[in-house]
Symmetry: C2
């Protein structure tokens, strides 16, 4: 019998583990000793904070990130072949969404290993829920291009697509780029397009607001360096 | 002061509330007396099952579905204007995603009402996590056309788009149509395209499997009439 590969959500805002991580995640974690994580230190701190283990030293954590070569992934997943369950942890939120966890999952499927996703916080999904934009059709695009001209081109292209398909367009950004991304969006989108800014989701400074671009234009804003999700619907 | 609009997730598989609904949802629910729900009976049963209220009769539940006209939504949301918090419940999973909750949220944003999304189960997100397909770019398309020719056309169009953008394509289907949808996908997709079938997510018969279409073709399957998510990546 092979082990199961559990996809373990982590918090997206500090000190929220007792509020947003469901009981089943904790029940499952108690039985797991082998983990793959983007960053060992963050993962260890998170697992430790749940107070499920008598000693955090008994846990085996290995790095899985976007640089990990395929042959190393095969080695990292050996415990599963020996019948041991494993957990994949993201740096923030749900593994396999906007993070490198998907490669481990893809390999598991080729080996007939059961993959079990656990419920937890996803800034993308929570931002979509709270946006009031179309949740019947939506697309996540990762990051916008850094170059202003390329960003403008991409935004206009996605706005056309949004209008054509009635599709909500979703992006994330590294916190220190919130201000340029907001400016690219406000500058390049049509005045009637609804734009949502969602910051520090689940945190004590959670801010989620949707307005037509024309309204955002009238609000000169200096955004904090906080994880953010941007959504629009033309 | 206006009330807050809380987006309350519900279970996606029977009798899982103690496992998949985080503590914060329960903490918030204790303070809410006014709810909007797609189906009053399901919502009442769910709220009752959480054992948070001394009497379920003290709760005010109103229907919000895709037939609810805009002017009625304005009336339904009056408690918020009077400073009372409200909750929006979906028939299954997270409100605002593939359900009518988004219209209430959109209205809230026009009135400056704070919208607070709660963490909970989403079959779309959990299926994506467990698919091993690309979680850096993905799109949700709702339902496929029922007509076989239109479904074939749509599938081929989305497969081209998937290849071009490296975008995971996601659908849901009403349970009794699982078999025709599976056949449309297997018949029309390229042999190398990876196809994920995800059924009864979070339930006791959870099944999530990813294979190239060529492999699925060799497995004649009779799918159960269970809620399912279909995903592919060309």
């Amino acid at each position: 019998m092979k082990g199961k590969l559990y996809l373990i959500p982590t918090i997206i805002s500090d000190n929220t583990q007792q509020l947003v991580i469901p009981q089943r995640v904790k029940d499952v974690l108690v039985g797991i000793r082998h983990f793959l994580a983007e960053d060992i230190r963050t993962a260890r701190r998170y697992l430790s904070s749940l107070k499920l283990y008598s000693s955090i030293e008994e846990l085996h954590l290995e790095v899985l990130n976007k640089e990990t070569p395929d042959n190393v992934i095969v080695q990292l997943m050996q415990p599963l072949m020996q019948g041991l369950d494993m957990g994949v942890l993201s740096e923030s939120g749900c593994p396999g969404v906007a993070d490198p966890g998907a490669v481990a999952v893809a390999y598991a499927h080729t080996q007939g290993i059961q993959v079990v996703p656990m419920v937890g916080p996803s800034s993308i999904l929570l931002a979509l829920m709270a946006s009031g934009l179309n949740g019947q059709q939506f697309a996540f695009h990762g990051y916008l291009p850094v170059d202003a001209n390329e960003a403008a081109k991409k935004i206009k292209e996605l706005e056309r697509e949004s209008k054509l398909k009635n599709q909500t367009q979703i992006f994330i950004e590294t916190p220190y780029r919130n201000n340029p991304v907001f400016m690219h969006l406000v500058k390049n989108l049509n005045p009637d397009t609804r734009l949502t800014i969602a910051m520090d989701i689940t945190g004590s400074h959670e801010f989620i607001s949707t307005h037509p671009v024309s309204v955002w234009k009238g609000k000169p804003v200096e955004w904090p360096k906080t994880p953010a999700v941007f959504l629009f619907l033309a």
